[in-house]
């Protein structure tokens, strides 16, 4: 993790943030920097190619989109860090939206409905962690099962249709802007900062990197593996539930067909942002950059009237290229050509 090292290298004289930023760039070259450069150049190109891109409305639109995508991707980053995966998050987004909406239409107060939905996230994350850690089911399989089951659950809870009739306050939350920036973006920022803090500053974050990097060394160092596994999967499910509630607020309905294939976008954002699917590497900031790139591509394609099927192809190619470049870099670093 870059942030660990960067803070470790903090010189006495240098200010902490300056050194973090410097070494972050140094160590994260080329992937995150490359992706950031790509995103920024796309912004520049788009600004010149269409007058509709660099407008306040469109930028706010991008910020809204990237917020929900990022929150899901931040969560998925944690199982990836410990060399696991969570494919169920897209379905959990839909299920949590439907469950929360249903509770609200039953007349339950908003805080209680949200609280219960987040508890559902804790339960799902615990079940995933239990299956992986105690039952020894591969994360890929158990969360793939979850992808099916929770989607089914969303249809069952909603009776196959969308849930209407949300309280006004909730629907207006997603449309709100504070200081000219969408409330969704602020929410993402807070969640991102908390997760970044956990990852870069706490023992738990460090142990996740250690575990993903070398399971044996983590175990022999006396790290409580079970705790780390539960923590990672619960973060993933709970952030998916938060995203589900926000998406429900944005659409003003609880939809069982929401967020199809979002898990893949989230994983792609984390990976493009420097996370390794072999564990031990990845950052919250990088994941945000990855999500921003994908949101920019989607938005640009819309504005330019490019077929959305091409957009899917482009996204796929991009993931392949970035992972290839990252591998190349890693091999050069370790001296294996």
């Amino acid at each position: 993790m870059a942030t660990h090292d960067s803070d470790l290298s903090t010189g006495r004289a240098m200010s902490q943030s300056a050194s973090t930023w410097l070494s972050l760039n140094r160590r994260h070259l080329p992937v995150e920097t490359l992706v950031l450069a790509l995103t920024l150049s796309l912004w520049v190109v788009m600004a010149f190619s269409t007058p509709n891109f660099l407008t306040a409305n469109n930028i706010i639109n991008i910020l809204r989109q990237v917020s929900i995508d990022s929150i899901i991707a931040f969560g998925v980053l944690f199982p990836i860090l410990i060399r696991g995966i969570d494919l169920s998050v897209g379905s959990v987004v839909a299920l949590s939206g439907v469950v929360c909406a249903t509770l609200l239409t039953m007349g339950m107060p908003i805080p209680i409905a949200i609280g219960l939905t987040l508890l559902l996230g804790i339960a799902i994350g615990s079940l995933n962690a239990f299956s992986v850690h105690r039952l020894g089911i591969p994360a890929f399989i158990i969360t793939l099962a979850g992808l099916q089951a929770y989607r089914g659950g969303a249809f069952l809870v909603s009776g196959g249709t969308s849930v209407f009739g949300l309280p006004q306050e909730l629907a207006s939350f997603a449309r709100a802007e504070w200081l000219g920036i969408p409330s969704l973006f602020w929410t993402m920022l807070v969640i991102g900062l908390i997760l970044h803090f956990i990852l870069s500053r706490t023992r738990t974050g460090r142990y996740m990197v250690a575990m993903g990097s070398n399971y044996e060394s983590a175990r022999r160092a006396g790290i409580n593996i079970k705790r780390i596994v539960f923590f990672a999967y619960i973060i993933s499910s709970v952030t998916a539930c938060i995203a589900g509630i926000l998406l429900m607020s944005r659409m003003s309905i609880g939809s069982p067909t929401a967020a199809v294939a979002y898990e893949l976008n989230a994983i792609a954002a984390a990976v493009v942002g420097g996370a390794s699917l072999f564990g031990g590497r990845g950052s919250v900031l990088g994941t945000f950059i990855g999500a921003l790139l994908f949101a920019t591509i989607a938005n640009s394609a819309n504005l330019l009237g490019i077929d959305s099927f091409w957009q899917m192809v482009a996204t796929g190619v991009l993931i392949a290229v970035v992972v290839y470049v990252d591998n190349l870099h890693k091999r050069r670093q370790s001296g294996l050509k």
Partner: protein, 251 residues
């Protein structure tokens, strides 16, 4: 005066196979004791008992004049027995400092509330440690992934040193190293001993063993068949004991 570490008639069976048939061994502070033997002689099983990986069937282990029983590597480590494993057990993506402190990070209160890893202390202590062992580790903030085999070995040994280990077990520390780097590991082993640590050095390269060890214990088929001072023996003699040539006289 009692020895730093004493193993008395240690026995272990795996099913029908008796892997250790009553091993006696003593280790003094400040010495390097090499344990050698052919594959299957019981070296690994012996150190896994001392480091708390296996429970013993019979026998006793005494540390600092006290009988001890470890049920996990963590307990052994807590008592002052550090093991540097063959595969080193370092986390590649973490820095040198993070590896040395893994599982025992100093923390401080962030804004007086949340416990966070005290990176500054780790950095300072790591630098001091690196300087003190003169081991050519570039700096404590680089990740372990970029280090050579010898540098990794040095990190693992530094970890043992920092945590005030009384006993350090080095399991085939040079098995995967280039010739140049072996010298460095031998130097580090001697340095540990000079700091009054008792070092158990598992190996099978006799040239190296004769160079690094104060005393040498030879294992053969689950027994220690010969213990000698390094200067009183030769490769030829050690090979005789290792291959069981003298077994009949001993048994």
């Amino acid at each position: 005066m009692s020895s730093l570490l004493e193993v008395r008639s240690l026995k272990k069976r795996f099913g029908a196979v008796e892997v250790l048939c009553g091993v006696d061994l003593s280790l003094e502070a400040g010495e390097v004791l090499a344990v050698i033997g052919d594959n299957g002689a019981g070296k690994s099983t012996l150190i896994k008992h001392i480091s708390g990986v296996y429970p013993r069937d019979d026998g006793e282990i005494w540390l600092d004049g006290q009988p001890v029983t470890f049920t996990s590597p963590k307990q052994a480590r807590h008592a002052g027995i550090e093991t540097v494993y063959q595969d080193l057990a370092l986390a590649d993506e973490l820095s040198v400092g993070a590896n040395i402190f893994l599982g025992r990070e100093p923390t401080r209160r962030w804004l007086g509330m949340l416990p966070v890893v005290d990176k500054r202390t780790i950095q300072r202590e790591t630098q001091r440690l690196i300087d003190s062992i003169e081991s050519h580790i570039p700096d404590g903030t680089s990740t372990v992934a970029g280090l050579s085999g010898g540098q990794r070995q040095a990190v693992a040994i530094a970890r043992a040193l920092y945590w005030d280990a009384k006993v350090v077990i080095l399991d085939e520390p040079t098995a995967a190293l280039a010739v140049m780097e072996r010298e460095n590991v031998i130097k580090l082993s001697r340095m540990l001993a000079s700091k009054d640590v008792g070092v158990i050095y598992i190996g099978h390269n006799l040239v190296e063993i004769l160079e690094v060890a104060d005393r040498i214990a030879v294992m053969y088929r689950g027994r220690i068949v010969h213990v000698t001072r390094a200067e009183d023996t030769s490769q030829e003699e050690l090979i005789k004991y290792m291959t069981g040539y003298t077994d009949r006289q001993i048994a």
